[in-house]
């Protein structure tokens, strides 16, 4: 039965698509106006959904009043509501940022990039909302495909050969993932006669068909999320797109398929998933953090550094699985931590990509080695970048801090000491590239910076606003549904010592692994060794990102999941 407020779920999905179609018809200068009107109403709907959820708990809406298995249900539980609200906020922030970039001035004919950008932004938003509220696995398949179809053209808005190539790689690899996911859905329908998640959760048994389906669907979704070693498409796609598009792709699009992994493992098939397969998922996450961060330190361009930092941050999103699934039901705290991590990454990474885009727009380049003096010239943009980075490090009161704290509690509770080390150590790698960029931009330039191009003040404040939102996300614990006791005093000796230790080790990493020495101190053999190590990582990453190795890795991971699921 539909609950009061359930209609809001249908509206949340419909509205962005209606806005998109209106924009398509109206064209020209009207597109941006329609996009902003849609954002305003959409934000209102998201707030309304959150309000209804706080009042009455879970929302549900049956399309045409037909019940599953014949009908289609839209449902929103806590994680879905949180993601809906966060995505609405981030879309509005990105919209404000992109206002100046994708403008069609009066009198000029519409430009293809500006026209497409606003329509695609709305399409991404609508598809994501559908991912969050869908109640059945087949609608989710369609939603994920819509998300990919909206994301791919965002990659090649500039239309250059390099970006077209990146877009095509992204599309083809994502399609491989989709077929595997669809195969899993078909197998589940064959086994249990429904694709509704609630009905499946009751019917599904730990038997070969469910295990096969879970292994295939998971690996298909990992390919779309670009979890290491399936990140073949991410760096060129996210690094090459215009900043406003990269922010959408990195902050939002990859969260769709990640959210579906969460749904499958924790809601639909926790009994099938089992602890040992969850360990593999967490292990891939840990590998992503190490490889993504080290390769990020080796990048020469700021946008590629942020793109590789996304590879690493996707790893953090999967660290929750070993804590959530320990073989004895689902740990709610770990799931909350995962959602919190996703939201803090969405806000912080959008802010960081925007800042990188502003640096590029003002200086005409984003070579990290030549950014000396940039902090003085573009204080707001670089503050946004550094605050976003600090928030991702998990410094109080950021969302990442709260997520880490929840996961540490869950790891303690289930006696998984090894993961405590990964959780604590992960921040160090993030600190590495934050320190690297910080040192470069704060350095005094050899000669005064060449003339800067003017950049929009609104864009700068939008970037800073999103980064600050990520940094302040833990404050939701005070007003929201999480216990306030999770937050301790940020200036207490323990927290301060922790932060300083993370920064110190991060500085060491940046010193050892960055392409050009961080300080002018020359040192002999130690840096030689770390440089060789870093080059090894880079070459390994290049090898993994070739098409045949990525496809073989995909099959290998599917087989390993199958084996681990059967063994449990």
């Amino acid at each position: 039965m539909s609950t009061p407020g359930g209609l809001l779920l249908a509206l949340a999905v419909l509205l962005p698509f209606v806005g998109m179609l209106l924009g398509l018809v109206a064209g020209g200068r009207h597109v941006r106006r329609i996009a902003f009107a849609t954002m305003l109403v959409g934000l209102g709907i998201a707030v309304g959904i959150a309000w209804a959820w706080l009042q009455a708990g879970e929302l549900a809406y049956l399309l045409g009043d037909w019940s599953p298995p014949l009908g289609i249900a839209l449902r929103a539980d806590g994680p879905a509501v949180a993601m809906l609200l966060a995505v609405a906020g981030v879309v509005c922030g990105i919209g404000l940022y992109a206002r100046a970039d994708f403008d069609t001035p009066a009198g000029s004919s519409e430009s293809r990039a500006a026209f497409s950008y606003w329509l695609l932004l709305l399409a991404v938003w609508g598809s994501l909302n559908l991912v969050f509220v869908s109640g059945d696995l087949f609608t989710l398949y369609v939603a994920l495909e819509l998300l990919t179809f909206a994301g791919v053209p965002l990659v090649c808005l500039a239309g250059s050969g390099e970006t077209l190539r990146a877009a095509l790689r992204y599309l083809l690899f994502a399609l491989c993932g989709s077929v595997l996911y669809l195969l899993g859905v078909v197998l589940l329908y064959g086994g249990y006669g429904t694709v509704d998640m609630r009905l499946l959760a009751e019917a599904v048994q730990a038997e070969p068909i469910a295990r096969t389906a879970l292994a295939l669907m998971t690996v298909g979704l990992l390919a779309k999320t670009a979890l290491f070693p399936l990140h073949i498409w991410l760096p060129p796609a996210h690094g090459g797109a215009p900043a406003a598009a990269s922010a959408v792709l990195s902050a939002l699009v990859i969260k769709g398929s990640w959210f579906l992994v969460l749904r499958l493992w924790c809601d639909v098939m926790p009994g099938v998933a089992g602890a040992s397969a969850a360990q593999l998922l967490g292990g891939l996450g840990a590998a992503a953090i190490v490889v993504g961060s080290v390769v990020a330190l080796r990048q020469q361009r700021l946008k590629l550094l942020v793109a590789y930092s996304t590879v690493a941050q996707i790893g953090y999103l999967f660290l929750m699985f070993p804590m959530a699934l320990t073989g004895t039901g689902v740990h709610d705290g770990a799931v909350a931590a995962g959602v919190l991590q996703a939201i803090s990454h969405a806000t912080a990474k959008a802010g960081m990509f925007m800042a990188a885009g502003l640096v590029y727009a003002a200086l005409g380049h984003d070579r990290i080695d030549d950014l000396a003096g940039a902090a003085r010239a573009l204080p707001i943009a670089l503050l946004a970048f550094l605050i976003g980075g600090v928030a991702l490090m998990g410094v109080l009161p950021s969302g990442a801090y709260l997520a880490k704290k929840l996961l540490l509690d869950a790891a303690d509770g289930s006696g998984q000491w090894a993961w405590t080390w990964v959780l604590q150590g992960g921040a160090v790698f993030t600190a590495g590239y934050v320190v690297l960029v910080g040192v470069r931009v704060l350095r005094r330039p050899a000669q005064p910076l060449a003339e800067l191009k003017p950049i929009s003040l609104l864009s700068q404040w939008a970037a800073l606003g999103l980064s600050l939102a990520s940094l302040g996300l833990a404050l939701t614990a005070v007003v929201g549904p999480l216990p306030a006791s999770l937050i301790s005093n940020p200036l207490s000796p323990k927290e301060l010592g922790n932060t300083l230790a993370v920064l110190a080790i991060g500085t060491l990493l940046a010193w050892g692994l960055a392409r050009r020495p961080l300080f002018s101190i020359t040192s002999g053999s130690l840096r030689g060794t770390t440089q060789a190590l870093a080059r090894g990582f880079e070459q390994g990453d290049h090898f993994i990102r070739r098409w045949p190795s990525a496809m073989v890795a995909m099959l290998g991971i599917a087989a390993t999941f199958g084996w681990l699921l059967a063994r449990a």
């Binding site: 398949y141 239309g159 077209l164 877009a167 095509l168 599309l171 083809l172 195969l183 880079e538 990453d541």
Partner: protein, 108 residues
């Protein structure tokens, strides 16, 4: 062997052929064809499952057919988008290669 099993085995063969093509073929157009072969395998499997699920006097379970037609439309749209991208790529670079740059920036 009944007809559903035969279709199931045919579906498995199509998925295998498509997967093999996706791994070893370099040209993006061939990859798209391989993707469609693999997708066809999944569709045939779904059809076989619909036949197996026949009940209430029907020849086949109607739900998979409704889902199939949607999935086919989605796969068609995906292929169209991919082909459009290939055409643009060839127009702007005279090559349809997907090879990326090695880490030191020089092309291989």
């Amino acid at each position: 062997m009944n007809v559903e099993t035969l279709y199931g085995l045919g579906a498995a063969a199509l998925v295998g052929i498509g997967l093999y093509g996706l791994i070893v073929l370099a040209h993006p157009l061939r990859k798209i064809i391989a993707f469609n072969v693999m997708g066809s395998g999944v569709f045939v499997l779904f059809g076989a499952l619909a036949k197996r699920g026949a009940a209430a006097g029907l020849h086949a379970d109607p739900v998979p057919q409704a889902l199939l037609i949607t999935a086919i439309v989605v796969a068609f749209a995906a292929s169209a988008l991919a082909v459009a991208l290939i055409v643009r790529l060839i127009e702007s670079t005279d090559s349809a290669s997907l090879a990326s740059d090695p880490p030191d920036g020089s092309r291989d």
